[in-house]
Amino acid sequence: MPEFLSDPIKKQLQEAFLNLQNPVEIVFFGSEKNCDYCTETKQLLEEVTVLSDHLGLTVYDLEKNSIEAKQYKIDKAPGFNIMAKVGLDLVDYGIRFYGIPSGHEFTSLINDLVLVSGRDAHLDPMTVSYLKGLTKPIHLQVFTTPT
């Protein structure tokens, strides 16, 4: 398969990734069953993560690695968890992508990598204060389309 990222885009990403402060690990789950974009998503993530020493990629299979899928809370493929890497440990912030991150979602992916690396979401102090005081869980599902 030809590469998704052109050389100018790679260069642009490398510049953006100069802002990465701490290691980030993408934990990806593909599937051999009925998965239209697993191969493409995995390749795209490979092309992105190779651009910085701060980025890593772990690849699992949703069915064959069901224990890990449970551990990283991935229930669909292609799906991946953007985790902070602290020493040898991975910290789950609850940020997951399902489906190929193309179009606007590619920008969201890159932004999330930078935010997780900085461990800071740059939110309004009011929002942060509300979130710190939460006593019940919030599950957000953001639906998007490739265009």
């Binding site: 239209d36 974009y37 809370k73 669909k76 292609p78 912030y93 609850g94 940020i95 997951r96 992508f97 399902y98 489906g99 190929i100 991150p101 979602e105 969201s108 935010l115 997780v116 461990r119 800071d120 979401a121 939110l123 309004d124 009011m126 929002t127 942060v128 509300y130 979130l131 710190k132 939460l134 006593t135 019940k136 869980p137 919030i138 599950h139 957000l140 599902q141 953001v142 639906f143 998007t144 389309t145 490739p146």
Partner: protein, 69 residues
Amino acid sequence: MALESPLVEADMVEAMEFPELANRYQVSGVPHTDINDGEGNVVGAVPEDYLLEEIKRAMGEPFITNDEG
């Protein structure tokens, strides 16, 4: 938001690849943000404070009443 609280989980879902899920939440326009499995939703790329208000509403705040039913 997920980054700021261990109680927040955020999934980005490509609607075309997961049509059953998109149908379940009646996604017609994107981005469509579902809050707690149908408790609330926001359509469009809205400002942060707007999303926060909708989350509070979906969480039962600040309109907490004891006279339901």
